[in-house]
């Protein structure tokens, strides 16, 4: 390597005129710990859809910023969330990913959360209802009335999605989302949605890199499917990014030409008339919510990506697919097929997108040589502009009080 090339490698591409981030933001374990505290512990997070809890006493378990959480539909129909921890000795309360409390546990009766360790019981509103041999052990020093589960702020909104916020007494969800959902809401909130797909994967990469993949479409060069169904079609470069307060970004609509994918007519073209309320057939809109959710409405299927960062270089990604609750069996089968043809674990695009961020994770590891990475494409906020990524890092930098991100 010549001296000139060596010195060029360490400099920012294009000098000071181009927006960049230091790769340290993907690799520094200390920064990651701050992210959990300042971002993931202090944001409204979309965690699941209410159709995963259709009946009273249905529950789901999840994790936010390393805190285990129960999401539970009460007997009154209200969805609530609690830390999945027994206040007695800190044991996990519910182990299953989902279930219904009507089924009794070996340690306690039905319609209650029972800690398997010492059989303390809680009702579906989080109130302790039973402490075995309480009087004998605690006399009058402790009563059930003094014991509750730690409730987590929870709202059901924007198409029936369940949102949680770990911090006590957060500002309302609508203040956090603002107008970012306005373009999608008519398609998602006019009638009930229903989940039909869930799968997950743990990927060795930093979580922000997955959000970037959902926030910039310059990487469409990676996908044969997107090149032929979108990039080479009219309107592709007319799509625009719009940034909103709190780091959210939307991408405006286009119509995807599935028939351009060789043999695509076999599996996708007959879905042209199957869409969502108010969405033109094969229309496509996308919303990226800070810090790590993507709402991707494309043709007949709605895809939701949610993330649970596990460490600075490992993230759990969950993928959901949804249709309309009123779908006929035939309509539902078409939505499932359309969703999974592109986005399923055996789909055309998802393995490529995941391979892309795995490769980034391998190239940028903790304690590796730092890079200055460009987020600098400016094309009038059209689809290959990186306006969305810059908006994300503007918010990230504000939250983290960290100046290494792009300005």
């Amino acid at each position: 390597m010549t001296r000139d090339r060596e010195s060029t490698w360490g400099r920012r591409l294009g000098g000071d005129s181009l927006a960049y981030v230091d790769s340290q933001i993907y690799t520094d374990p200390a920064l990651f710990e701050r992210e959990l505290e300042r971002i993931w512990g202090r944001s409204w997070l979309m965690v699941l859809h209410e159709s995963e809890l259709p009946e009273p006493f249905d529950f789901r378990t999840t994790t936010i910023a390393r805190e285990p959480v129960i999401v539970l539909r009460g007997e009154d129909g209200v969805v609530r969330a609690f830390l999945n921890k027994c206040p007695h000795r800190g044991s996990l309360l519910l182990r299953e990913p989902a279930g219904n409390l009507r089924q009794a546990s070996p340690s306690g009766g039905p319609r209650h959360i029972t800690c398997m360790f010492h059989a303390w019981q809680f009702d579906a509103a989080g109130q302790c209802t039973s402490i075995p041999r309480r009087k004998a052990g605690y006399q009058d020093r402790l009563t059930c009335a003094q014991v509750t589960l730690r409730e987590v702020a929870c709202e059901v909104a924007y198409g029936g999605f369940v949102w949680l916020h770990l911090a006590p007494n957060p500002a309302p969800l609508r203040d956090y989302v603002g107008e970012a959902f306005d373009a999608l809401l008519p398609h998602l909130a006019s009638e009930p949605l229903e989940i039909f797909h869930h799968h997950k994967t743990v990927v060795r990469t930093n979580y922000k890199l997955w959000h970037e993949t959902n926030s910039e479409f310059y990487h469409d060069y990676m996908h044969h499917f997107n090149r032929v169904t979108s990039m080479q079609q009219p309107g592709y470069f007319d799509r625009r990014y719009d940034a909103y307060p709190n780091g959210h970004v939307t991408i405006s609509s286009m119509v995807v030409k599935y028939t351009a994918y060789e043999h695509g007519e076999r599996s996708l073209a007959d879905s042209r008339e199957l869409s969502f309320p108010g969405l033109e057939p094969n229309g496509w809109k996308l919303l990226d919510l800070f810090p790590g959710t993507a709402v991707n409405l494309r043709g007949s299927a709605l895809r939701i990506d949610t993330m649970t960062p596990l460490s600075v270089d490992e993230v759990l990604i969950e993928f959901r697919g949804l249709g309309l609750k009123r779908d006929t069996p035939e309509e539902r089968a078409r939505r499932v097929r359309d969703h999974n043809t592109i986005w399923g674990p055996f789909g055309r695009n998802l393995p490529e997108d995941l391979l892309g961020v795995v490769n980034q994770g391998l190239a940028m590891r903790p304690h590796g040589e730092p890079l200055n990475l460009l987020h600098a494409r400016e094309e009038g906020r059209s689809i290959h502009d990186e306006h969305g990524v810059r908006a994300y890092y503007h918010e990230w930098s504000r939250r983290m009080d960290h100046a290494l991100a792009a300005e």
């Binding site: 995963e52 789901r60 299953e96 990913p97 989902a98 989940i195 039909f196 797909h197 869930h198 799968h199 997950k200 994967t201 743990v202 990927v203 060795r204 990676m222 996908h223 044969h224 499917f225 994918y261 060789e262 043999h263 076999r266 599996s267 959901r320 089968a333 499932v336 097929r337 999974n340 399923g344 674990p345 055996f346 789909g347 055309r348 998802l350 393995p351 490529e352 995941l354 391979l355 795995v358 391998l362």
Partner: protein, 154 residues
Amino acid sequence: MEIDELIYTGCLLQDAREFNAWLELTAPELTYRIQAYSPEIRRAMTWLEHDRAGLAALFELTPKHHVDHAQWHRHASLYKLRVDDDRAQALTSLVVHHTLVDVGDTHRDSGSTRLFAVGRYRDQFRLHQGRWLLSDRTVELDTRQLGIGSHTIV
């Protein structure tokens, strides 16, 4: 070819990525699907479903995508076989390992073998001109975390 040999030959052909040769073992009315049950959403899911022509198209298009080139090894064990005249049904246990080539840390991991998935084939066969053909296959996967996923059928 007897049914057990047909199932095992199918595995060998798929391991060798001889997918068109594998299609020769199937009937024109073939339906192939990959399914899994999600305890998270408490629903059965169909992750892939194709007829014979759809599978042929899938095999033709796969080279146009960025794919995982791992060497797959399908280990099948025929558990149940029921033959009724010119029709048959089989239940086969399936374990799929893959030996890594170019996904992940190639320098460290290429050549290492990992479990990809476990599950079952639920197959139906039809006797056609003295020859058994696979007419319907449902791959029931127990494994629901599949890494980056796959462009290849199981």
